[in-house]
């Protein structure tokens, strides 16, 4: 029996097809193929699989790409353990097909993404437009995406829900000096439909008078959500051929969640190697309808206990080591690289309690230890240019 404890992953991923580095509007992306193996491990959840990206120029002004991505999920997460269910295994596949067209200093891009698993299907369309101007010192970009999701529930053949998502993006990149570039980005995302996870439950005092135990009932979410995010970023070239990168992002949404993200990066080439170091801080406040323990069943119109809607911080650090291969070319390839990447993330929740640990300790409802966990993310990939 599969469960949708990671459903939000797929809703978001469907719109993730618009997520690749902003390119200069007057230049088509490089012709290259990347074959990547990814593995996420944390909170007794493992998600791993391959990703293949092939990009090829079909004419002087047209470039096409195809991405095939798989998530193999094995999960006994805090939600699964709290519910008393057993570990589940499932697979999700995603395919994206896209084209970029260059006309003068303008690049137009269109992509279609399809994501499928046994109880969740998502399709999305993405359109992007970029324009260079002001002596190519400035790049203005804008984009629009629309996604449609079909949600089912394993074990409940009558359950059928839908959700739609739209995204509006605006970005500006600016060359400041011969060593310094900056960019700003703004994105509004709207959701409408069934936004809750059919497998997730909220918790309430049972009975209300003594709160002797936690009761559980299906979450109830609003049917709409609108979010706004604004980011500022910069990259600086250091005199000894290295680069510093920084980004700051603020976020808020109609569920009363506010968040900030700060990240720093450093890139250092050494002989045939390129070393990347990165550090990231994230902090968010809870949704207005989130509570770890409600006073009674159906206390409010909307009730949620998704830890992603709680108050929490995360800190992550990581490194990527790239080794250049075939520098003089090999067969049809101009060059290549071998890459190994590792990131560690620590999540610290401020109002989400570890109910399974509380059961072991004999804690009363609402006094269980606060939840925290660490996760490791590994990527191994080879890149070939032609």
């Amino acid at each position: 029996m599969t469960r949708l404890f990671v459903a939000r992953t797929f809703i978001l991923l469907a719109l993730g097809a618009a997520q690749l580095p902003a390119a200069n509007a007057g230049v088509l992306p490089e012709e290259r193929t990347d074959l990547l193996y990814h593995r996420y491990s944390g909170d007794e959840v493992t998600v791993s699989g391959p990703s293949l990206l092939v990009r090829k120029q079909t004419s002087t002004n047209t470039s096409v790409f195809f991405n095939y991505y798989i998530d193999n999920i094995s999960s006994a997460s805090i939600d699964v353990r709290t519910s008393g269910a057993s570990r589940y295994i499932e697979e999700r596949t995603e395919q994206t097909l896209g084209v970029d067209y260059l006309h003068g200093k303008t690049t137009m891009g269109f992509a279609y993404t399809d994501s499928a698993e046994n109880d969740y299907e998502a399709t999305s369309y993405h359109f992007n437009l970029s324009q260079d101007f002001f002596g190519d010192l400035t790049t203005l970009s804008m984009g629009y995406s629309k996604g449609s999701d079909t949600i089912r529930q394993t074990g409940n053949p009558t359950y059928l829900q839908f959700a739609d998502k739209q995204s509006y993006r605006l970005g500006l990149s600016q060359i400041i000096t011969r060593n310094f570039t900056m960019g700003v980005g703004y994105e509004t995302i709207t959701d409408e439909g069934s936004l809750r996870n059919p497998y997730r439950v909220y918790s309430y005092c049972n009975p209300e008078s003594t709160c002797a135990a936690r009761g559980f009932a299906a979450e109830i979410y609003p049917n709409t959500r609108t979010s706004n995010a604004l980011s500022v970023r910069g990259s600086y070239f250091l005199p000894y051929r290295a680069a510093l990168h920084g980004e700051y992002k603020v976020f808020n949404d109609s569920w009363d969640i506010s968040a900030t993200t700060m990240s720093l990066g450093y890139t250092q080439p050494i002989s045939d190697f390129i070393i990347d170091l990165r550090y990231r801080l994230y902090s968010q406040t809870k949704a207005e309808f989130y509570n770890d323990l409600f006073n009674r069943v159906d206390e409010f119109n909307f009730l949620g206990r998704d830890k992603e809607l709680s108050t929490f911080d995360s800190v992550s650090f990581g490194t990527t080591i790239s080794y250049e291969i075939a520098k003089s070319g090999w067969w049809i390839f101009e060059k290549g690289s071998l890459n190994l990447s590792w990131d560690h993330i620590e999540f610290t929740y401020k109002d989400f309690r570890d109910v399974p640990a509380g059961r072991l300790l004999g804690s009363a409802p609402g006094t269980e230890p606060l939840f925290a966990f660490g996760a490791d993310v590994i990527q191994l990939f080879v890149s070939l240019w032609y």
């Binding site: 978001l12 991923l13 993730g16 097809a17 618009a18 997520q19 690749l20 580095p21 990347d34 990547l36 990206l53 790409f65 991405n67 991505y69 994206t96 896209g98 970029d100 992509a111 101007f133 002596g135 190519d136 804008m142 995204s167 993006r169 605006l170 970005g171 500006l172 600016q174 060593n179 960019g183 700003v184 980005g185 703004y186 994105e187 995302i189 706004n228 995010a229 604004l230 980011s231 500022v232 990259s235 070239f237 051929r241 980004e247 992002k249 603020v250 976020f251 969640i257 993200t261 890139t267 990347d276 994230y282 949704a287 995360s314 992550s316 890459n339 990131d343 993330i345 990527q379 890149s383």
Partner: protein, 74 residues
């Protein structure tokens, strides 16, 4: 956030009108900016994946450094 939006609008207006300002970094002065190390997301398939890892475990979404560029994958 409103203040930052105002700054964006001002920068956009300035950029599109030019306001008499000439491009101050010539094409032949941009070799450092063209170095691949200046792009923190130069390996798109990897950058997109790690972006996805973060975004699926957080409520924050959108306006990431790897968004808005055109093509896509995860």
């Amino acid at each position: 956030m409103k203040a930052m939006l105002a700054i964006i609008v001002c920068v956009l207006t300035l950029g599109m009108t030019g306001c008499g300002i000439q491009p101050w970094v010539k094409p032949y002065e941009r070799q450092n900016l063209a170095d691949p190390i200046m792009n923190p997301n130069r390996d798109g398939v990897s950058a997109s994946y790690i972006h996805h890892v973060h975004e699926t475990r957080e409520s924050s979404r959108g306006a990431g450094s790897v968004s808005g560029g055109g093509c896509g994958c995860n």
